[in-house]
Amino acid sequence: MKTSLNNTIRIEKYLRGQLNPRDRFLFEAQLLMNQGLRMDLLAQKKVYTLLKMYHRKKQKEELGEVHRQLFSNPEKKHFQQHIFQLFNPKQK
């Protein structure tokens, strides 16, 4: 478990360019010889991609909540009317 956790940390540092030249060289040599490590590297890269997607999705959910608040707040009536008129100019 501990070794695999160390690998996770090393992969992260490698992907972020945080390994010193010697450790990077050693890691790349291991990558050539160890298919499991190569798969872990690719999968971990994918995790970062998925985390970015997740963050974007959550941000949009949060913005959706702001939108709902703005368009249901009676104090923002003028703002709401201004926007609605853009899409339905005949309505007052």
Binding site: S4, L5, T8, I9, E12, M39, D40, L42, A43, Q44, K45, K46, V47, Y48, T49, L50, L51, K52, M53, Y54, H55, R56, K57, K58, Q59, K60, E62, L63, G64, V66, H67, Q69, L70, K76, F79, H82, I83, F84, L86, F87
Partner: protein, 191 residues
């Protein structure tokens, strides 16, 4: 306090002259920037819902650009968000390319290549949202919300910062293993 910072694009170096949107309340950003995007979308025949969706995507892209010092603006944040919105609109309505006027600044804007996820990534994300939500939240806090280890130590009920750091890597490993297990093909990793 001067909030200027410099960012490079492929062609030029431009400065951001306004405080970043991150530093302003999101409601304020909404009220200032949404009317311009809504007017643009309405003018192009889009609906209120189209305007809302494009605006949210534009804000997400803008936040990323600011936080990664990737993007560049020579004008206000609102104008930049409108520029992103025009690009987003064009992605869906490619035939209108000749009918949408863009300033030099707007032309330099680009939407991140990975912004619209692949079907395989969407499928994986759905799996992770149900099977690894806690870890996804923890990792999001680490990587995207700049929540410090110290703060997480208290809020997650850990006694020391080392435990939180270990938990972060355990989560990373757990999610990685799920990705390996659920990826149907080798290509799923590298797309």
């Amino acid at each position: 306090m001067d909030k200027h910072f410099v960012m490079e694009t492929q062609e030029t170096v431009i400065t951001v002259k306004k405080p970043t949107l991150r530093e302003r309340p999101v409601h304020e950003i909404y009220e200032r920037a949404f009317p311009r995007v809504a007017a643009f979308v309405s003018n192009k025949g889009g609906s209120f819902e189209d305007a809302r969706d494009i605006f949210h995507d534009a804000l997400v892209i803008y936040y990323e650009a600011i936080s990664e010092n990737r993007s560049s603006v020579h004008t206000s944040g609102e104008a930049y968000i409108l520029g992103i919105s025009k690009h987003l609109w064009l992605q869906k309505h490619k035939k209108e390319r000749l009918h949408i006027l863009m300033s030099r600044m707007e032309k330099e804007i680009s939407i991140p290549d990975d912004y619209f996820p692949t079907a395989a990534n969407n499928r994986l994300l759905r799996i992770l949202e149900s099977a690894g939500k806690k870890c996804m939240e923890l990792l999001r806090a680490f990587y995207y919300q700049n929540v410090s280890v110290k703060k997480l130590t208290g809020s997650l009920g850990y006694t020391n910062e080392h435990s939180v750091s270990v938990q972060k890597y355990k989560c990373l490993e757990k999610i990685r293993n799920t990705v390996k297990e659920k990826s149907l093909h080798y290509e799923d990793f590298i797309e």
